[in-house]
């Protein structure tokens, strides 16, 4: 239809310009074409007379979200109707951020008489309340840097900036997609970037997939502190070019989506997993895997079905070489140096043709997967580099030699393998995850009340959040840190241990051990005088943990930690995992409290297949394999 219309226009133009008689037959053809355009026989579904959408995909696929409800997408360039114009938020309230914050805090308080779960449920059902919570959360994030917040307050004096904040915060899915899918670090930078993206591409506001890409790019680059142009060596240009490079990343993925170059899976991704893809690392150790050239090449030259990136056979497309073709070692920068000009910043191609070892293979696989819209992350293993890709919603390792992994991409600072599975589990049910995060925000609002603090209410709110989603690790951590600040008593911490075990076992014993080892035990153990009580406490875990859950974890570090805790070394209580040397382990003492601990634990773990062998090796001081 588009072609016909263009043809008509062209023909008419020529007709005007030239001799009428000469072009009479063409005029007839043009007329026919015109009637064809208006052909009443064309089914109405295809006879849409509205202006051509900016992207074909935008008009065809109006919804691309899986879990959260999508808003109807329109044509970004389509002139807005009067009604729509009226409905567009002006963002006036953002003109005075302090006032807005106070207003939200006051209005939230007014909603509750008893703060009962029923009242809370009712509160969270109202979209306006949710928007208010999100606005408050964004303001909180913007205030993290005092200087930046000052400049933010100056910037909202401009109407276009206010309008941006108005539109962003009025779109609940969008603002929550930014705030609740990763900690909103360096929010000021993120918002500045997002505004710049919108200026260049209006569909950021209207097309869900483009919105997710933009939000993911700004969210990841700001969260990870990638402000400058990592490919630039000139320090001044580095800073100056920074946002341009970030925009290029956005442009790459938005164009790829529009041109349907990404795996169909990408269309169903949420805000959080879009982040993994668009936030693929740019440069590591002067190697440009995530450069635009590299990503583009990967999209055309390493395009595989989802399972392909999880298959070593499919992804090993390069020579595995410790020394390059001329004998330079991979452990020096000389390995790629003689091949820099030929491949430029196209590291994927360089890796395929020059060769690489584990790090290159893993970055090759993960970057190529991300370039094609499949979530993938790299991870360190002792003396090795592996990667993981997601296949049918499950994370699978590739090029891995050992279970002991340290994720290069993570949301909540924890790097072990189980946390990737946990992140997936948390966001598998986005609705529930957001419900917990919203309650977390409410808890923060209540906690921010300095004049008449009501800490018990804050606890109730966190508990309400954890009832919504018991495996929500960041809420757990915040809840426990709040308890630590409030100097809660022994009963609280003992109860916390029980609740953590209930929430994370059997699937995530590592996550439970992390919370216990990092927050619960350092607060609880000093309140216990009796070693046997400590032993009983530790035994709870081993009694309830039936096995490794979603993956082998560092259970030896937990035993080591517990043994040290019984030895009375208070400092070691804080150093969860740091004290265990897997290559040179020390045989644990077997007298006194430690001996009683071993006696108590041994039968508990011996009966469990996963733990039995590990425990025997650890107990005898054998280096871990």
């Amino acid at each position: 239809m588009k072609c016909n219309r263009n043809f008509c226009l062209l023909t008419f133009t020529r007709f005007k310009e030239n001799d009428a008689v000469k072009y009479t037959p063409k005029f007839i053809i043009a007329l026919c074409s015109f009637f064809l355009v208006l052909n009443p026989c064309v089914p109405t579904a295809f006879a849409d007379g509205s202006p051509r959408p900016k992207t074909k995909q935008a008009s065809v696929k109006k919804s691309s979200g899986k879990k959260a409800p999508e808003k109807k997408t329109g044509n970004a360039k389509k002139p807005e109707s009067k009604d729509a114009k009226k409905a567009t938020p002006t963002g006036g309230e953002w003109g005075d951020p302090g006032k807005l914050e106070r207003k939200i805090e006051q209005s939230v308080a007014k909603n509750f008489k008893t703060w009962s779960p029923a009242e809370l449920d009712k509160f969270f059902k109202d979209e306006e309340n949710l928007k208010a919570l999100a606005k408050w959360e964004l303001l909180r994030a913007l205030q993290e840097d005092e200087e930046e917040f000052k400049s933010f307050k100056m910037s909202v004096k401009k109407s276009d900036v206010r309008r941006f904040y108005g539109e962003f915060s009025d779109d609940l899915e969008w603002i929550e997609g930014y705030l609740y899918t990763a900690p909103p670090k360096n929010a000021h930078f993120a918002m500045r970037l997002l505004r710049a993206f919108i200026e260049k591409d209006e569909e950021v506001k209207s097309v869900p997939a483009i919105k997710k890409i933009a939000t993911g790019v700004v969210g990841e680059f700001s969260r990870r502190g990638w402000f400058d142009d990592e490919f630039e060596t000139d320090p001044e240009l580095k800073i100056k070019n920074g946002p341009t490079r970030i925009y290029k990343r956005f442009k790459f993925f938005s164009e790829s989506w529009r041109e349907k170059r990404l795996n169909k899976i990408f269309d169903d991704l949420d805000f959080w997993d879009t982040r993994i893809i668009v936030g693929v690392t740019g440069r590591t150790n002067n190697i440009y895997f995530g450069s635009e050239e590299s990503l583009r090449w990967g999209q055309d030259n390493v395009k595989l079905p989802e399972a392909g990136y999880a298959s070593p056979r499919d992804i090993f497309q390069m020579p595995y070489r410790l020394w390059n073709k001329v004998g330079d070692s991979v452990h020096t920068s000389d390995y790629y140096e003689p091949f820099m000009s030929w491949y430029g910043r196209n590291q994927l191609k360089r890796a395929r043709e020059v060769g690489c070892v584990c790090g290159g293979v893993s970055h090759y696989g993960a970057t190529a997967a991300c370039a094609n819209g499949i979530p993938a992350v790299t991870m360190g293993e002792p003396g090795h580099c592996a990667f993981a890709t997601r296949q049918k919603g499950k994370w699978r390792d590739n090029n891995s030699v050992v279970w002991d992994r340290s994720l290069h991409w993570r949301l909540w600072d924890e790097t072990s393998w189980q946390f990737l599975h946990l992140t997936q589990a948390v966001y598998d049910d986005v609705k529930t995850a957001y419900a917990a995060f919203r309650a977390g925000t409410l808890a923060r609002i209540v906690a921010s009340e300095k004049k008449k603090p009501t800490p018990e209410r804050v606890f109730e709110l966190y508990e309400y959040a954890l009832e919504k989603q018991p495996i929500n690790f960041p809420i757990w951590r915040e809840y426990l840190e709040f308890a630590q600040a409030q100097k809660k008593d022994k009963a609280f911490w003992k109860n916390a241990q029980k609740k953590i075990l209930d929430a994370f076992l059997p699937e995530f014993p590592d996550v439970a051990a992390t919370l216990l080892g990092k927050i619960v035990y350092p607060n609880l153990l000093p309140l216990i005088d009796n070693d046997d009580e400590k032993i009983a406490l530790f035994s709870n875990f081993w009694e309830k943990s039936e096995g490794f859950g979603c993956g082998r974890w560092d259970c030896e570090a937990s035993w080591e930690y517990e043994i040290r805790a019984l030895g009375g070394n208070a400092e070691s209580n804080k150093a969860f995992r740091k004290n265990y040397d897997k290559e040179n382990p020390v045989k644990p003492p077997n007298s006194g409290a430690a001996g009683r601990y071993l006696e108590k634990i041994a039968p508990l773990v011996a009966s469990k297949k996963d733990y039995a062998k590990c425990f025997e090796l650890w107990k005898s001081g054998t280096p871990r394999k």
């Binding site: 497309q317 001329v326 091949f339 030929w342």
Partner: protein, 315 residues
Amino acid sequence: MLKKIFIALLCLVFTGTSAFAAFSAKTFAAAKKRNPKDGIIVYFYGPDWDVRSTKMLKTLWESSEIKNACGDASMLSVPVYQEPNEKQKKNAKAIREGMKVPHIFSYPAIVMFTEEGEKYYILQGDEIFEDKAEVAETIKAKLKLFRERKAILKKAERAKGVEKAKLYGDALLEGIEPPANALKIIKASDPKGETPYAKRLEFDVFKLLTDQTYKDPDKPDKVLIKPDAAVALVTKLAIEDETTYLPEQRQELLACCAAYLRRLDKTDSRIKMLHKKILEIDPDSIWADFVKDSEARWLGVEKKKDKKEKRRKRK
């Protein structure tokens, strides 16, 4: 006017069904059974995950240009599903039955097989995303090489001894993969190594420069022959002899030797001599860039701006 329309319609009909002879098969077994003289050409695509390759099934694979380019080959399209249902699994299995699926790096891919099902070329990645005419040209060119190879191999079947090795050597055409058994046959027919072909096929720069008496695979630098011996050997194999090894193999030998000297003493004057020779063999190759990068990094020679981008594109 009517006459013109009639002629146009006639042309339209005939261009749509032009005189291509490629046969569209439903399964690999059917394609093979037909014993096509131009082999079997297979298009792999991702129907449920890759929009581009699915679209290209119609716009590229089923176009008259490609059908024409495929000559007398049997054509087959193979869907590679991401999440197949039982019916699709069964169907895909039936299509591929008897096919030795090669390692495909990227989809879509056009794999060119001999009549016996031995792969001799894969068109994938950047090459397949060229415009249709370019892709058709590539297929034609590869098919031409394949026919040429087939004719040589036919002659080779009747030949014996060094003559057979020579013919097999001639069949190692640049642009398509060598026949699977080529090395074995060449070695058997030319046990004394009178022809260079086995050497080319077995080319391994480190094997050539390695001191065979030293056995420590973890330290390749230590096992290389002495620098003077390496220079002498490389001069003989890559400079004086221009026929045994292919140009890029000679460049690789020179580059490896130069890098070896550089690691020992970057002021060694022989490095530049070796570099010069690399550039003489082919100034537009990856090894020419290797020279420039190496000289800039280790020998302090400033890099000149050249038309590398253009060259890369051409490549």
